[in-house]
Structures are given as C-alpha cells and as structure tokens.
C-alpha cells in the first residue's frame, strides 16, 4: 500500500510540475468524453431507450409502411390490425388506439391537449393504474356508452388544482360532455404525449375492409420473441393481405418497432449510426492525441525509466508507475467529461421543454442513466488503453542499457517510434474522417435549409387548430369554421392575411394514390401517389406560392361544385410531360369522396409545392 502511495504521490508531483501539459491533456480527454457521452446518451434517450414503464422494453408499436415509406402513427387499417392480432404469435396484449389533438373545456378555460382513444385494458397493458379513480371498462368502450375520460396528473394539477374531488366532474371534450373517472400518476403520458385517455368506441368486429377506419397498434413482445422476429411475422401477414386484397392493401406493409424509434423514420439507423460514429471518432481522436502526448513524455523520460530498470523495478511495477500519471489524467478528464455531459444533458432537458413546438415525449428525460454510465465506463476503458496502457507498455520496452551507458536519449527503440508514428497517422486519419463527416453533415443541413418549399417563410406565423368533429361534423361545417376564423383574425387586426390549410408546404401529409383519367392501370401498384393538402381559397397566394400556369382557387370552384386542384410541377411532369396540365382530370379512389379536377375553365392549375 505504501508503495502505491509513493508512486501516486510521485505521479501527482510530476503532473503538478507541468501544469500546462497536465491541463491540456485533461481538457482534451474531458472535452472528447463529454461530447461523445452527451451524443451517445442523447440519441439513446431519443430513439433507443426502453419506455420508462414496467417491462417497457417489451412494448412495441406497429404501423403501416406504404410503398416503402413509413407512416407515422394512426395509419393502420383497423381490419388489418385485427388480422395481425389474430395471426401474429410474436406479439401479445394487443391494444388498438388513436392519438390526436382535442379541445377540453375544463372549469375556467378551453385547453388544447393530446388525447389517446384506446381499447380498454391500456392501463393493464402499461402496468400503470390510476392514482385516483379507476380505468375505463370494456362496456364504456361500446358505441353509445356514456363518455368517460381519465386525465393525466399534469391536467389534474394544472386544470383542477389537484382537487381530490375531481372524479365524476363533467368536462367537454371536443364539445362532447365527458365524465372524469380517473387520474393517472405523474409522468404517465402513454403512448407519446397524451394527457387524456378515452375509450376507443369502435366495434372492430363489425368494421369492413375499405371503410378506412385507421388505428395505431400497440402490443408487447411475446416471451422469447425479438422485435425483428415479430416484425417478420407482421410483414408476412401484411404480405398475405396485400395478395388477397390488392384493391386496398397493395404495397401496404407494416413495421414493428419501439415508440422512441418511430420518430426516426426511414433514415433512423443512418442518422443514429452517423452521429454515433462521429462521437466514437471524436473519442478515439482524443484518446490517441493524449496517448501520443503521454508516449512522447514517457520517451523523454527514458533515463528515469532506465534507472528504475537498473535498480530492479519489476516490469509490472514499471508499467504501473508510468501509467499512474496517465490514469490521473484520464480519470480526471473523464470525471470532468462526465460532469460536463450531465450538465449538457440537463441543459438539453431545459432546451427541449422551452423550445419544442410540441410537448416533449415522456421518455425524453435526458441525464446520466445506466446506459450512459455503461458507455462512460467503456469510454474510460478505451481512453486508458489508448492514453495510458499503450504508451506505458511501449515505453517500458526500450534499450535502456544504451541510455544508462552514455546518458543519451532516444534509445527507447524503433518500436516506440513506430507506435508514435502510427498514432500520428491515426490522428490524421481520424481528423480527416471527422472533417469529412462534419462537412457532409453541414452540407446536408445547409441544403435542407435552402430547400425551396415553393412558399415564402418570411414574416409568417403559424398555428395549429384542430376542429372538433363533434361540433363540426361535416366538411361544410369545418369549411365554415375556417372561413369564420379567418375573418375574425383579419378583423382583429392581428394580421392582414390569413392562410388556412391542412398541412404546411414541406411537412408530411396524407399520401393517397390517384388515377389519371384516360389511363389504364392493369395493376393497382402502377397507380401514382402524391401528398394531398386541402386549402381555403387565397391561402396559397398568402404564403407566397407562385403559379407556373393557370390560377389559384377562387369563388368559381365552390360555385360549380366540381372538385378542382392545383398540382405540383413534379406531378404535372410525371403525368403530362410536354403538354399543359390545365383541364386534365384525375381521381382519388382511396378517398371516401373521390375528387376530380374540373375540366376546361376553371381547370386544374399548376403550382410549385
């Protein structure tokens, strides 16, 4: 023990005598570990971490993939869901649900919240029961049953002041009276950001294929099944359905994944892989940099090492003694890096909550968790090998006899020189790789920021409005509401122009197949598809969209009663290349009310979307 203290004391003394070197080395390790750890932990929490529920790692979601494009939630046909539920053994405890926006009128104001309509049993599924009241029953999910709602702890506190007598109080949800029957524990927002849970009043047994009733399927992995195995089974079922029902299911598949992973979409693995690769490269670069510095220092001190060898230092003790300084540097840097990562992740929590447009997902609690600590331990081990063990081992293998004989330096052997050169080459390679990856990322980000959405983004404020179906049941009602809203906003003087549309340019929206009039589609899969957005007349001009040909919507379109459309340049090129698309007609067979563009004047317009 006293020998250990002697070596440690000596190591601290040596480091203290070279504060610049010590500080630089510790800083390099701290920065590299801090950044890498933050990146690993951030992405893990974002996309890979198990849900913070009992046996949360077994909870999966399955949703549709249409023509290879992953659909984001609430997109699985309810009939397909039933098929999957009955035929996939790799999943169990199936629950169909929908997550969406609602307006809730509480005691004193109307709030816009996210609600989950779900089959009964969702709380058993999540292994979480209300802290107050009860969950809803199967009977309460039957069509015609009275409306009931379970509220989140946050809503209970914010809207009802934590009133213990909140149960049985009536609230209006999208205009419909609902009775509060339970309060969930703090932090429960399953499946993503829900604050309200209501029965999904669907009789799934009676729904026919083609009715276009969509749900989101959640389930738990059966014992002994992995996500990949369950995914294969679900895909097999969907492939069978695609073959049996090409009219509705052609090119429609599904994927099984975790809730955190759903937000990553098609390119999730590439994004996570690229970010983690950069983090790993950064760590390696830091470790090798400090390793090379310490190797150079060890070689500079080969007289001391030679003296120790002559005095009979055992090799192990020699290596350990040389490692102490490196260990102190690596461990100090790592500890500072860990603190830095903890601070960064804590700041990330604040940033996410303050700057996110929507409520952050409930599993987005960034911080030092088990995964982060495990990665941290691995990073420290890598740094110890690169920056401590390797230099010490190599420096202990020199020709110390030559050093002792003539007192010159540089006798530590060609091996040490080779290692040093190899480390320098590695540093250069890693630096170049990081620069290339960073350059590619910056270039991609720049290109993304320069994408022409076909609309002006200057001086435009956006807001999202959800129209309660109960109060505005028909398309006509909803259009009237939108027009009234626009008129009210303009009258208020808040703005001089208002655009109302189902989705903003550049954002994902409904993507139906269509049929061009006059063309035959021998196979359904040959029908083209495109994103669909519905707008109020004049909205497109308000957000600065420009026409290549034709005109925007106006009163003539509503007067004739004939559906009309403005299409993108890419759709025009795809279907009517070399000729004007004005007056051409297409059909949307997937929609409950097929739409056609009008012929002649007013004809279909071509805009840039």
């Amino acid at each position: 023990m006293s020998r250990l203290l002697i070596d440690l004391k000596y190591a601290f003394r040596v480091l203290g005598k070279r504060p610049g070197f010590t500080l630089l080395s510790i800083t390099v390790i701290a920065v590299c570990i801090g950044l890498s750890l933050s990146m690993f932990s951030f992405l893990n929490t974002m996309a890979l971490k198990a849900l913070p529920l009992q046996d949360g790692e077994a909870i999966v979601v399955f949703d549709t993939v249409v023509e290879g494009v992953v659909r984001g939630g609430n997109s699985m046909d309810a009939v397909d869901f039933e098929e999957v539920r009955s035929r996939v053994s790799g999943l169990t405890e199936f629950v169909a649900m929908l997550e969406g926006d609602v307006n809730i009128s509480g005691r004193d104001k109307v709030r816009h919240l996210v609600a989950a309509k779900t089959e009964a049993g969702i709380f058993e599924f999540t292994r979480t029961q209300p802290v107050l009241g009860r969950a809803f029953t199967v009977a309460e999910g039957a069509p015609g049953a009275g409306n009931v709602v379970v509220i989140s702890h946050k809503v209970w506190q914010n809207e009802f002041g934590g009133d213990p007598y909140v149960l049985d109080e009536m609230v209006r949800i999208n205009g419909e009276p609902s009775r509060i029957i339970g309060v969930m524990p703090r932090g429960f927002h399953f499946p993503r950001t829900s604050d309200l849970w209501m029965p999904l009043k669907l009789d799934l047994d009676r729904i026919e294929r083609g009715e276009d009733v969509l749900v989101m399927g959640v389930a738990r992995l059966s014992e002994g099944f992995s996500i990949e195995m369950a995914d294969r089974q679900v895909k097999q079922v969907m492939a069978d359905l695609s073959e049996r029902y090409p009219g509705t299911n052609l090119n429609v598949s599904a994927w099984v994944t975790t809730f955190p992973w759903t937000q990553m979409g098609n390119d999730g693995m590439a994004i996570v892989g690229a970010c983690w690769s950069v983090a790993l490269l950064l760590l390696l670069l830091g470790g090798i940099n400090v390793g090379n510095l310490l190797l150079s220092r060890a070689l500079e001190r080969d007289r001391e090492t030679a003296t120790r060898v002559a005095l009979g230092a055992p090799r192990g003790r020699l290596v350990l003694q040389m490692m102490w300084e490196s260990l102190i540097i690596v461990l100090s840097g790592s500890a500072i890096g860990l603190l830095g990562a903890a601070w960064t992740l804590e700041m990330t929590n604040a940033l996410v909550r303050n700057f996110s447009e929507e409520e952050p997902y409930y599993w987005w609690t960034f911080g030092i968790d088990g995964f982060t600590l495990a990665i941290f331990a691995a990073m420290v081990a890598v740094c110890i090998i690169l920056a401590a063990a390797l230099p010490a081992w190599r420096a202990s293998r020199g020709d110390f006899n030559a050093v002792l004989r003539d007192g010159t330096r540089g006798a530590s052997g060609r091996g040490a020189g080779r290692l040093s050169r190899a480390l320098v080459i590695m540093e250069i390679l890693l630096s170049v790789t990081i620069l290339i990856v960073a350059g590619a990322m910056i270039s991609s980000a720049y290109r993304a920021s320069q994408v022409d959405y076909g609309a002006s983004v200057e001086n435009i404020l956006t807001a999202r409005v959800s129209i309660p179906e109960g109060r505005y049941p028909t398309a006509f009602d909803q259009a009237r509401f939108a027009q009234d809203l626009r008129a009210t906003l303009i009258r208020s003087g808040v703005t001089d122009a208002v655009a109302l549309m189902s989705s903003l340019p550049g954002t994902y929206t409904y993507w139906p197949n269509y049929e061009v009039e006059g063309l035959n589609y021998p196979e359904d899969r040959l029908r083209p598809s495109g994103q669909l957005s519905t707008v109020l007349p004049s909205s497109m001009a308000v957000i600065g969209m420009t026409l290549l040909d034709g005109r925007f919507f106006d009163s003539r379109d509503s007067e004739t009663g004939m559906p009309s459309a403005v299409i993108s340049a890419s759709m025009a090129d795809l279907n009517w290349r070399g000729e004007s698309a004005l007056g051409k007609r297409f059909r949307l067979p997937g929609l409950p009310h097929p739409r056609y563009p009008s012929r002649g004047e007013p004809g279909p317009k071509r805009g840039r979307l």
Binding site: V14, T307, A310, L311, G312, R405, G407
Partner: protein, 231 residues
C-alpha cells in the same frame, strides 16, 4: 567450489547486430571476482568495459559463455528474476548519477528499496537514514537533485547503491562527470565502503582512480589483456 567466489565469467562473448554490421564487443572473457575484492576495469573507449559491466550487472545478456553470480547460473534466468537480482544483489553507480530529478534525495535512496517485498515502510526509512548518515547527507534529505552539486549527487547515487546492502557494487566511470576535488571525495567514499567489506567492480579510464582498486583488469578490443594486482 570456492566459497568466496562471487562472480565467475567463462568464455563470455557479446555480439551486437546493427542492421548488417556485426560488432564483437566482448570476446571470450573469463574472469572471477571474489567477495570483498575491489576491481577496476580499464581500457580505451570502445574496448568493451561498459558492456562487460552491463553483463555482470544483468542489464545485458551475453551472446555466449557461462556466468555464475553468487553460485547461481545468471544466464538461464528470466527477466523477472534478473530484475530481482539487480535489486537485491547489485548496486549500480553511474557516471551521470542517474538520480530522478522529481524525487527528493530521500526518495531517490529509498526507490530501490520500494521494489522489495521484505521491507516495511519503517525498515526502508531506517535504511535510508543510516545510508545518508554514512555519507553525511541527512540534512539534504528533502532536497531535489537539482539543488545539489555534482559531487553531492554522486554521493547520493552511491548511497542509493549501497542502501539495500548488495553483494557487489558496479560503478561505471563514477568520477567521469566530477571535478578533481569531488572525484577524490567519491573515491574516498568507495575506499571506505571497500574497507567495510563491500565488493566493488569499477569501470574507469582514469589511471589514478584505477589504482585505488586492489586489482586491475585491462581490456582491449573486447579481450582481457592484463589482470594484475596493484601494490
């Protein structure tokens, strides 16, 4: 077997290979050193003096030949055992002192003792104290080498070499970096150690220092050309 025989070298050869050049540093060296002897090894530069000392001190291995140290075969032993023998049975004194600059005088003297498992902290401290008292350097115990003169540094190096009571002291040009006065002081120190029973083998090219020994060995081109007693 001679009970007093400490070192026995028979037919020792040492060949260095540098790329395609083969250098014969030692050629057929046979030499015996008994306990309590004070031997000087002299010769011109490059004659193999230091190489011979390295082989005797187990810092280097012979290419051929037999080496017995205190009755033990010193050729067929591993790295770990060689380190143990260097630590317990051999004390080194170098021309350039080779004190560790970031350690105090006391720590430098204690260093080889810390490589031993059979000494407690108190034992080590006591040995250091006794050794420093012997060279009158106790008052410099907390000083660093850079705060000492060359002569004082070499006295500390000698103290470090003898603190562990080795069987033999190997000195490689111990006065090579010292002025006449300090060189004389160091040689007197070695004389005193020899009178106290220490076995000393010293490499030197200084005839006056060589004559302080009782026995002189002269090397030329890696061979012993003279082995005589000083009267």
């Amino acid at each position: 077997m001679n009970e007093d025989r400490l070192i026995s070298l028979q037919g020792i050869k040492k060949v260095f290979h540098t790329e395609e050049v083969e250098t014969h540093a030692l050629s057929n060296i046979s030499l015996d050193i008994d306990k309590g002897e004070y031997v000087s090894i002299a010769g011109p530069s490059g004659c193999g003096k230091s190489t011979l000392l390295s082989v005797i001190g187990l810092l280097d291995t012979a290419t051929e030949g037999q080496y017995t140290l205190a009755g033990q075969d010193a050729i067929e032993i591993g790295r770990k055992e060689r380190a143990r023998i260097r630590n317990r049975q051999i004390g080194f004194i170098f021309q350039s002192f080779h004190l560790i600059s970031d350690m105090t005088v006391e720590e430098n003297v204690e260093l080889p003792l810390t490589y031993r498992d059979d000494l407690s902290r108190d034992d080590r401290k006591e040995k250091v104290r006794v050794a420093l008292e012997r060279v009158d350097m106790v008052h410099r115990g907390r000083h660093f080498p850079s705060q000492l003169s060359g002569g004082q540094q070499q006295r500390v190096a000698v103290t470090r070499a003898v603190a562990g009571s080795p069987l033999i002291l190997l000195a490689d040009e111990p006065t090579g970096n010292l002025d006449t006065r300090n060189a004389e002081a160091v040689m007197e120190l070695l004389d005193g150690l020899h009178e106290g029973g220490a076995t000393i083998c010293m490499v030197t090219h200084d005839p006056r220092s060589a004559r302080r020994a009782r026995r002189g060995i002269e090397l030329l081109d890696g061979q012993i050309i003279n082995d005589h007693s000083f009267t």
